[in-house]
Symmetry: C2
Subunit: 387 residues, 2 copies
Amino acid sequence: MKQMAGGAYARQALLPEGFRDQLAPKAEQEAALVRGLVDTFLSHGYDRVAPPLVEYEDSLLVGAGKTRAKQMFRLMDPDTQRMMAVRADMTMQMARLASTRLADAPRPLRLAYTGNVLRTKGSQLRPTRQFVQAGVELVGSPSLEAELEVIAVAVEALAAVGIGELSLDLTVAPLVAMMCDQHKLAGDVREGVMAALEAKDIGGLAVLPDASRAAFEKLLQAAGPAKQANEMLSGLELKGGAGKLVARLSRLTEMVADRLPDLSLTIDPCESHGFEYKSGIGFALFAKGGEGELGRGGRYMVTHPDGHEEEATGFSVYLDSLMKALPAAEKTDHVFLPFGTKSSDGNKLRVEGWRTVQGLDAGADPLVEAKRLGCSHILLDERVRPV
Amino acid sequence: MKQMAGGAYARQALLPEGFRDQLAPKAEQEAALVRGLVDTFLSHGYDRVAPPLVEYEDSLLVGAGKTRAKQMFRLMDPDTQRMMAVRADMTMQMARLASTRLADAPRPLRLAYTGNVLRTKGSQLRPTRQFVQAGVELVGSPSLEAELEVIAVAVEALAAVGIGELSLDLTVAPLVAMMCDQHKLAGDVREGVMAALEAKDIGGLAVLPDASRAAFEKLLQAAGPAKQANEMLSGLELKGGAGKLVARLSRLTEMVADRLPDLSLTIDPCESHGFEYKSGIGFALFAKGGEGELGRGGRYMVTHPDGHEEEATGFSVYLDSLMKALPAAEKTDHVFLPFGTKSSDGNKLRVEGWRTVQGLDAGADPLVEAKRLGCSHILLDERVRPV
């Protein structure tokens, strides 16, 4: 009987893959990082909003939400028998708010958010299936000043929580398709070219006629430090939408370099993976020397009920990536208060910023007890002493 | 076509009953309240932990979790095809942590937590199906000092977020069953008595023989201010477990009155509803003059994998109840920064604690723009002026 209970418990102790218990001091570090990020967002006039974890499935599958369809857990609403889904990303919820409840709020609309998102499957890059997202959305301004603001807020927020040296990678997700149109590429050739660019495989461009190949090769070679990349891109002498996009990119690069001179700037004009729902310039931030991406954002369109579209730019940080880029949290100091300590003495210490641990056992030796409980200090004879 | 899109959107704008978008300034107020509560918990040496929103169903259905079985949403894990559930309460997760990963951590173990919980159905008292819970668990001390500490921490945390005048209602959930055992009540009579006590219906006690009836009538009449209640309960001259429980209650009342003299203290010895999984003294906190309960807690048992049980006491606040008891949040001041304001000027204001809103439109009249955006102030000629 007890054996069985033990077996059941051993199983219970196991969490489903990709879910985890965050313990102190990590749980506290994560909460402090969220505070730090959101405080910066609010200081730039972004209004905090908190949408629910669960919505009707169809309201999470609008626009950009479609790209997350397979990642969302579904729940049956027992009241209405309608399918609901757990959010896999909070960006769509901001678009929903901007286009419905906040449709009449003055533009540009600035929204800040943080919360948990769940995914049905972890990816290789991010095996966890629950993580905290924090971000901002700036809705209703088509100006490049919007991109600049969002990038500046993101950089300031990350600096505020301890990520000093950052590198920014700019992308132009729609560019490749625009160039394919201009070169009248279709069918297998078009798909081959897009795959080759995605894979950074110059050999894959061999399928192209000479005239086009040169342009796509240059595009591939342009990836790298921003100044150089912009020169190469302008050498392509692109026309129409592609030309405008490249000009915007070049102008934004100047604005960012001017405002944030310490930021390393790179451009990847072939990158579109993960930027599927971005309609213009996208960007990703990396800690210098670190491996993983800390957060990403970019321009996209919010679709309103009457069908009209509104320009928006946003940025999101994933807390698990951020935690990996920062030194591990250290254990906090605690003062042990021996049994019988006056509650006013404990109060006084807490007001001074100490964390106290009250002894509950009248018979125990205070110093032994303080050590056993892992306290760094003890209150003895009305003085705080190291243990 | 557009009509259809409009219709689809109108539906999308609707959230499932019991779920809601929290907008500014409410979302910010809630986040600030959570901060305030948890900061107090941490200052008393409670370690912050953050369990996942989702676990395997069976790990959430252990012990006290069984009472929540119908309230939990179920999800299928696509990886393992095992059923998972979304937590409907965080207390069981603390018990799981205490009995598994933290089984060897020194006792008493102090845990603090906050997070969202989901429920399949709203209740009349709490129609929302998602809300934020914040609380503490003190595991491994059978002492009354543990109850005292948890009550004191709860009162201090609520005071820190603005609930000044509180009233504490103490309960002894197992008492009624113990008295029924002593009076050898069984079957319909026992159930009738328990229902009558629950409903505070003295007439329902008429089924009892005279000798027993007097005792149960006294129990019912004892409900009220603590001093009086304790006198009446001691007059019952209860023996065995019931006697010990009543003596503990009386002792705790003295300790609480001594430590927290401003707290109104009441006792409800017949109350067991909602305290099903409490093994001893339970308590609920109310704002004086307010209607709703702000939070509740009490003593319960944590069952370990080897079958042994460990004493624990905890306390939980529900943020929706807390928000109702506090004045509505006010809109925050914002300074409008006209287009072209130097970014260093904005920085300076933010360091001083201002929230800034950057103008993105070069052509707009700054004062008109500041008003349109709802800013309280504007930066003009390097000075902050009211709008």
